[in-house]
């Protein structure tokens, strides 16, 4: 019997520690004696004899002590997952142009001179997609529009042509849009609403704040227009996630924003949800205005909303993908959250699974939406036939088995290996080191915030 390599501990008081096994999903409160045995630095297991047989059996049933080859289990689970979840996620950027000029936008340098796809190019894209589907007929296909801003009024004929092509292939449609010029598309959206799986639209604060951040080039704001467009989508049963990009400055406005969503009656729509996502610095520039580590955001949220779980339910809020993923075991343990939030998934982000293919407005193929327009990251081209650099694409296949650092990390099953882009030093991805963000501090902060609750449950 060995100690699991996925054991994690957090001290709650002198007498109580929380232990978690990130591979099995076990969470337990124990006295220091038990933790000492589990976390002694040597791999010597003779200390186990200090525990009574009942505790030893329990620790084994929870996975803290194990006989299985954990590496093999992880590898096999990932293989099963990849094999049984064949997918193709196609994204088209009709242009990189955008009608807004948000200060934190990672695409700010590529907006102005961007080309816009014409019908012949769009046909080439769909030929390339059909070719890929032909090679992977069992894949679930999903179609997405991204940009720049995909729903610019001036690109209506091309964009509706693109959407029509996706609809003819019965591909569910998703889009990330700033929502400002959707009005031009209302008749189309109304007619084809059933094909739209999801629209993600960003609001960055109540009106005054949002209008300072998400503004037109002449400095006027976009809030009122976006809100009325969201209301239209919800009335036509097109699911909308309002994304709130948070930085140090705007988190404090969340209560006012949520109240506004309720006033607009969005929160009573089954098609509404809202996501809080800290603005990120995936290119590791150190220069993103207002950047805030995830742990700081967590602290601020709990300060603003002492009953954060109730707030989540009331306003249908969730956190950004990685933030949710890392808390899924602890939330299940503390709040017995519903099954949707407690999923077994050892894999990484969508770009790491090599089923993401982004068709840029510049004729190039990209592995991840954040890299579009940056030719160094391109993995091929689609004009005059599909040219996919398989070897370069393969380098994006990053998971907790492939990444050296993650193979030795006790948090790996929770984390999945982080953002591939963040871990890469250049577009070639030859020099890669997993980027942990502030995962450890984030978990510690979450547990510190819930210390009293956990200690109370220990005493009950």
């Amino acid at each position: 019997m060995r100690l699991s390599k996925y054991n994690y501990k957090h001290r709650l008081s002198d007498d109580v520690l929380l232990i978690m096994n990130t591979l099995t999903g076990a969470v337990d409160l124990v006295e220091p004696k038990v933790a000492r045995v589990l976390f002694n630095r040597s791999s010597d297991t003779s200390a186990l004899n200090d525990l009574d047989p009942e505790t030893r059996t329990l620790l084994k049933s929870r996975g803290y002590l194990t006989d299985m080859s954990e590496e093999q289990y992880v590898r096999e689970s990932l293989e099963t997952y990849y094999r049984s979840h064949p997918a193709l996620q196609f994204t088209i950027c009709p242009t990189y142009k955008c009608n807004l000029a948000c200060p934190y936008c990672f695409q700010s340098d590529i907006h102005q001179d961007s080309p816009t796809l014409d019908l012949a190019q769009i046909n080439e894209i769909f030929q390339a997609m059909d070719q890929m589907v032909h090679l992977k007929p069992e894949a679930a296909v999903q179609f997405e529009l991204f940009g720049g801003e995909p729903f610019l009024a001036r690109n209506q004929s091309q964009v509706e042509y693109i959407l029509q092509q996706a609809i003819e292939r019965s591909w569910p449609i998703l889009s990330i849009t700033n929502g400002t010029e959707l009005g031009a598309y209302f008749p189309f959206l109304q007619k084809h609403s059933a094909h739209f799986r999801h629209m993600q639209i960003t609001l960055d604060g109540p009106k005054e704040i949002h209008d300072q951040l998400r503004k037109y080039r002449n400095n006027s704001g976009s809030y009122d227009l976006i809100c009325s467009n969201i209301t239209f989508l919800l009335e036509h049963h097109i699911p909308v996630t309002v994304r709130i990009n948070t930085g140090r400055e705007n988190v404090r406005h969340l209560p006012e924003m949520f109240a506004g969503f309720e006033r607009l009656q969005w929160t009573s729509s089954p098609d509404f949800s809202c996501q809080i996502a800290p603005i990120n610095d995936n290119f590791n520039t150190g220069k993103v205005a207002g950047f805030q580590p995830e742990s700081d955001l967590l602290k601020q949220l709990h300060l603003l909303f002492p009953d954060w779980e109730a707030t989540r339910r009331r306003y249908k809020v969730s956190l950004g993908y990685f933030m949710e993923k890392k808390l899924r075991i602890l939330r299940k343990a503390m709040f017995d959250t519903d099954d949707d939030h407690y999923y077994f998934d050892l894999s990484g982000c969508s770009a790491s699974k090599r089923h993401n293919l982004v068709f840029g407005a510049d004729g190039r193929l990209y592995p991840c939406v954040e890299t579009v327009g940056f030719p160094d990251y391109s993995i091929g081209s689609y004009l005059q036939g599909l040219h996919l650099d398989e070897e370069k694409w393969q380098r994006w296949h990053r998971d907790i088995v492939v990444n050296d650092k993650c193979r030795h990390c006790n948090l790996a099953p929770l984390c999945g290996g982080g953002c591939v882009l963040k871990g890469s030093r250049d577009g070639e991805l030859r020099d890669f080191e997993s980027n942990c963000s502030d995962t450890r501090q984030y978990l510690k902060t979450y547990l510190d915030l819930h210390r009293d609750r956990l200690l109370e449950s220990y005493c009950q």
């Binding site: 076990a26 038990v34 929870r62 049984s84 979840h85 990330i176 990120n280 503390m334 407690y342 969508s350």
Partner: protein, 44 residues
Amino acid sequence: MKSLTKNKDLWTNLSAKDLEEITVPMACCQKASIQINNPTKKAI
């Protein structure tokens, strides 16, 4: 020792078949996470 998650919910107790059928959110830092991997598959 007090257990906060039940043994029946432990992931390592999932069968190979369960693993094949799970749906997980597919997303990244840019996108809201949506259960989209395969509409015919279920969450566990």
